[in-house]
């Protein structure tokens, strides 16, 4: 009987990080179903349906692009709205997925109290939901760029690489935040403030050269600076990212992912004790 081979031992000394990874693979159908649930329920009851996903970030970007191009007249060496849009493509993915990840793990707690579920599946599915929404929102954005620039650089083909790195980074941050948020729910609120500060510290709505040279280190220690740059290079500058662009982005993303995963799984035995 193969099922009797299945043994659970609470004192197993195997690494929780590796065990959770195996469980997440085993529960891959759950990751898919949770993503499907989030997408379907978001669109089922709204009249405009999928259009909302496209219009939301679009509205925000238009406001920003209009306001800042009129107010500050940053010289970005090109079309300012395209410049902002290219940065926001990365930023909205990051801010939405990390917030959603934390919300589902901190507030979705009822289920975990009754049934064993590898919790990482909830975090991973938040990211995949983000990917689907991101792809919907990309349609009008690329359309705007196409209209204003009359052309779309072929270098956007590097998006999958950039998005993979951004996915890894967001998942890592999402896991770290959730692990802390389960103990202290006010972190969820605090994070929104951190997010807006973080956004203004990242050159998204302004070009990086307006910051004096002696302050440039503030970008160098910011992982989102490198990730935003990858997207901006391909959409706005029409360039392929060089090794110098990719290495720091990949190093930051993978480090944060590993740190987040290990910390989350190491703490996860205690989560059930928190209600």
């Amino acid at each position: 009987m193969p099922s009797s081979e299945l043994i659970y031992d609470s004192t197993s000394r195997k690494s929780p990080a590796i065990e959770e990874l195996k469980e997440a693979v085993k529960y891959r159908e759950l990751i898919f179903q949770l993503t499907r649930r989030d997408i379907l329920t978001r669109y089922k009851r709204s009249v405009l349906g999928i259009a909302w996903t496209m219009l939301n970030p679009l509205g925000m970007m238009l406001v920003l692009a209009f306001a800042f191009s009129q107010l500050f007249r940053f010289d970005t060496g090109g079309n300012y709205s395209t410049f902002v849009l290219s940065g926001l493509i990365a930023w909205t993915f990051f801010s939405q997925t990390t917030t959603a990840c934390m919300n589902s793990l901190v507030w979705g707690g009822g289920l975990f109290q009754h049934i064993y579920i590898p919790r990482s599946t909830f975090a991973i599915s938040s990211m995949f939901t983000g990917v689907v929404n991101w792809m919907f929102s990309l349609v009008p954005l690329l359309a705007i760029i196409l209209v204003t620039e009359k052309t779309l650089p072929w270098t956007v083909v590097t998006f999958p690489i950039s998005l993979t790195l951004l996915f890894a980074f967001s998942l890592g941050i999402g896991l770290l935040l959730s692990a802390v948020g389960i103990y202290f729910p006010d972190v969820v609120e605090m994070y929104q403030i951190i997010l807006s500060a973080w956004m203004y510290l990242t050159p998204i709505i302004y070009p990086e050269n307006i910051i004096p040279a002696e302050m440039q280190w503030i970008f160098k220690i910011n992982p989102m600076y490198y990730l935003v740059k990858l997207f901006r290079l391909s959409v706005y500058d029409g360039q392929l990212p060089t090794t110098a662009d990719l290495v720091p982005a990949a190093a930051f993303s993978l480090t944060i992912l590993v740190v987040g995963w290990v910390f989350f799984t190491y703490k996860s035995k205690e989560f059930a004790y928190r209600t």
Binding site: S4, S10, L34, M190
Partner: protein, 250 residues
């Protein structure tokens, strides 16, 4: 650790579960940081289970009895992996099916069919396994014409039927039951009772928590009595139940 015989299904070895509750509830990080600096974070430990050791053999039907707060639910949570013990060891062989939350994770906006997939995935099934189960679940729940309507349009009896059908359409080695559940109208109650009974007849290991001594006496082969997190009795049903009745009568 006692030796694990080939016929052992569940083994708990000196298991304790301590909930650490702050004297005053500290709900925010801000408060915690302030108090930590003031060295004022104090905890009290509440032992939900205290040094519990028990062995359940394959095919046994074990009744867990005790008053409210005796640690019965905590015990079930340990066996179904929801909770990891604070100390001691929990060892379980085989696939565990907890029949605790029927329709856990049902989403009102999704259709009955979509919810079958979601709920089965929560129980750890793969796509292929779910595909095979769907017709049987629809058949058992008798929701044929409503299965593609959103659950929010269901009556509470209908969603209970669907939840029961999803949760019980499984071939576990160990079944965890919190009271014998019977849902729906009279006709469906009989049907759900029959299904639970078939589990008892299949010879799988069952752990049942119940307040009904009649049920426990009738069904169980082995009874464990808990009192304030401590095992106070472990043996033949009648013996343990009589002990419990004497104590409760006082």
């Amino acid at each position: 650790m006692p030796t694990i015989e080939p016929n052992t299904a569940i083994c708990l070895d000196h298991v304790s579960v301590a909930y650490r509750a702050p004297y005053e509830r500290i709900g925010t990080l801000k408060e915690y940081v302030i108090r930590w600096f003031q060295r004022r974070v104090k905890y009290q430990h509440f032992l939900a289970l205290n040094d519990v050791s028990l062995t359940i053999k394959k095919g046994e039907i074990v009744g867990i009895i005790g008053h409210n707060g005796a640690g019965k639910s905590t015990l079930l949570k340990l066996i179904s992996r929801v909770l990891t013990p604070t100390s001691g060891r929990v060892w379980v062989r085989g696939k565990v099916a907890p029949l605790l939350e029927l329709g856990a994770g049902f989403h009102p906006e999704l259709t009955g069919r979509e919810n079958i997939y979601l709920n089965s995935a929560i129980l750890g099934l793969t796509r292929k396994e779910i595909d095979e189960k769907v017709p049987g679940i629809i058949e058992f729940s008798e929701l044929h014409e409503f299965i593609d309507a959103p659950i929010r349009t269901y009556s509470s009896g209908m969603s209970a039927r669907l939840g029961f059908a999803v949760a019980t359409d499984t071939n576990p080695d160990i079944l965890i039951l919190d009271e014998i559940m019977a849902v729906g109208d009279e006709a469906f109650k009989h049907k759900s009772e029959a299904r639970i009974r078939s589990f008892f007849e299949q010879g799988i290991t069952i752990v049942l928590v119940s307040h009904s001594m009649e049920t426990v006496e009738k069904l169980c082969t082995h009874v464990v009595r808990l009192d304030h997190g401590v095992v106070k009795g472990d043996g033949k049903p009648l013996e343990i139940i009589n002990e419990y009745r004497e104590i409760s009568a006082v």
